[in-house]
Subunit: 340 residues, 2 copies
DNA sequence: TTGCCGAATGTTAGCGCTAACCTTCGAGCA
DNA sequence: TGCTCGAAGGTTAGCGCTAACATTCGGCAA
């Protein structure tokens, strides 16, 4: 009578190993580790010692399977290399990790299709919650999100309709406000430079356009957009192109501080006096913009706080509680500096 | 005779649901999805249709438990908000994701203690591989890594002894080379500004010191280090402090392009001509350094390639293969520009 | 003394999947 | 004709953990 071969080699120490070691049942060990208050002080101490001694490390997969909870959260951002999202990610990490949640980070590369694919993949992990950027999803992705019925918080933008939980600020308003600020300063021929044409960039552009149209000063040739990622070098190049197609500009609204810095450097090279001949405004409040010469006017965005608030809201939702607010507008801050 | 209550509510579609639907056994569905070549064309098609129809999503936890493979890789970096590591992370993502591996990203905040804690936590996920930054680990962490016997690749630095798999470049050499370059250019009173005193920064500092000592030109008061994170603002402040304690410097080696940019801006403010009165060199080859006025001499480091190579090597190791090389030196590139 | 209660621990049965071995069946060959 | 062989699919038994219910036992009110 041949015995069947058991699975695999000698694996790690398991719960039952610990249980056998001190002569109790496995469930007691489980309880001692997860709900210590259910186990008597003395026994708990013995268990802790045995865990230490045997070097027991729980197996998350088994726990997830048995409890139907993965203690993981999917986080989908458009880019891993953009400071904007990195700050938000850091905040999410800082909030979720202490609460015992693992982040599953996905980089959608600004593509709703890629996002849909990632979402599908990550649903296999049976996440307890989802943090997703914006509202620009494919119909299939929206269906996936709905049918999965997993608590979800949208970041960076605010829902324009419906009551999806969201944390962010109005991209449109911020674009409008910065343009309005330039108008109030007396600038009349204001250009707009944009890169990485994601929905948030586009909404800021709409704000820009609306403000200028209101003032009767909108001119399409003063708008310049490029789909490639934002960078300092691109800012320099875009300025050259702008001055070709609209040489009479008196101010430039750059959709990103990277671009603004590039524009600034290029102006220095072309001996264009800032802000006398040309005013420059950036966006996002990056560190460098405060220290350049002249310092750059910019709109500071609450990236870290958005991550913090979104993660906190998600923790509430995952705990089955109703958050105080499911639509959190964290605003933005216009920092007027020497470049305007 | 009371029946025992079954677990939980109606959960998602499972393998057996699909199997029942088309009247085969569960293992066949499993095979059709994981090793399609073992299932006949016709049946496979029917299975694919049923999967689609029923909206079946595999459960990773169950798969991990049954197969003793998690298809996940732990990635530990010192900071989530430092461009240096972000580029590396992006490369790792680009390499591991297509291969079906999930990243578990941990932010050690430059602390070996925090790293040890993260490592302990992440081992619960039974990762198939580990990517870790540098070689500066606590003794306990080293023991954990050894006893876990999980393929591990160290990033950014090169092993000085032993044969731990690693991908990076010599931090010491790069610091030495940049200093040597400044000496060759004729600078004699070269300062060193550093922030975020991690092991890599310190090694570059050693390279700097060695080069100057060799030339008989080392002066401790020309070295200025600050433990806080690197930033443009800090660069400006450090320059002010440097000029107080060593006003006669003729060149500054900044450990990071952020600092270098801050120094550059501050020099502009103080009317210090660059490179005539003071030369500036940075480190890491950030985008902005190429476009500033004057453009900044820097050492370009292969951050993306390190991530790529480390992840590839890890894939090899996880597949049980022996990589061509387990010690990959990707070098660095000195970019001589106008600031020196 | 009885009976009830609740704190502490145990028993049983899966969670959803796959490793390992087993069966079936038709093709190919001597 | 008998045999082998491999492709295609099935059976069984867990992986390590925890939900749900069960048991034990000392304390204590009636």
């Amino acid at each position: 009578m041949s015995e069947r071969k058991p699975r695999a080699g000698q694996s790690r120490t398991t719960l039952s190993d610990v249980a056998n070691h001190i002569g109790v049942s496995a469930i007691t060990i489980s309880r001692a580790l997860n709900k210590p208050e259910l186990v008597s002080e003395a026994l708990r101490q013995r268990i802790d010692d045995a865990v230490q001694l045997l070097g027991y490390v729980p197996n998350r997969a088994a726990r997830a399977l048995a409890s139907a909870k993965s203690h993981s959260v999917v986080v989908l951002v458009p880019s891993l290399s953009n400071t904007v999202f990195v700050d938000t990610l850091a905040a999410i990490h800082d909030t979720l990790h202490p609460a015992g949640y693992q982040m599953l980070i996905g980089d959608t590369r600004y593509s709703p299709q890629a996002e849909e694919k990632l979402l599908r993949t990550y649903l296999e992990y049976n996440p307890d919650g989802i943090l997703i950027t914006g509202f620009d999803h494919t119909p299939t992705a929206q269906t996936l999100l709905q049918t999965a019925a997993i608590p979800t918080v949208h970041m960076m933008e605010l829902a324009e309709q419906g009551d999806s939980p969201c944390v962010g600020f109005s991209q449109y308003d911020s674009g409008y406000a910065l343009t309005r600020f330039l108008l109030d300063k007396g600038y009349r021929r204001i250009a707009f430079l944009a890169a990485q044409l994601d929905p948030r960039t586009l909404k800021r552009g709409e704000g820009y356009r609306a403000a200028l149209r209101e003032a009767g000063l909108y001119q399409p040739q003063r708008e310049l957009a490029e789909a490639s990622p934002s960078s300092v070098g691109l800012g320099s190049r875009l300025l050259d192109r702008l001055l070709l197609q609209a040489p009479d500009c008196d101010a430039v609204f750059c959709n990103n501080d990277d671009l603004a810095l590039g524009v600034l450097f290029q102006c220095q090279r072309r001996q264009i006096a800032i802000p006398q001949q040309l005013a420059i405004a950036g966006f996002n409040g990056l560190d460098a913009s405060a220290w350049s010469n002249p310092s750059l006017t910019t709109v500071d965005t609450p990236r870290y706080d958005i991550g913090k608030a979104a993660a906190s809201m998600l923790l509430q939702l995952m705990a089955g509680k109703t958050p105080v607010a499911t639509r959190v507008d964290l605003g933005y801050q216009l920092l007027a500096r020497d470049s305007t």
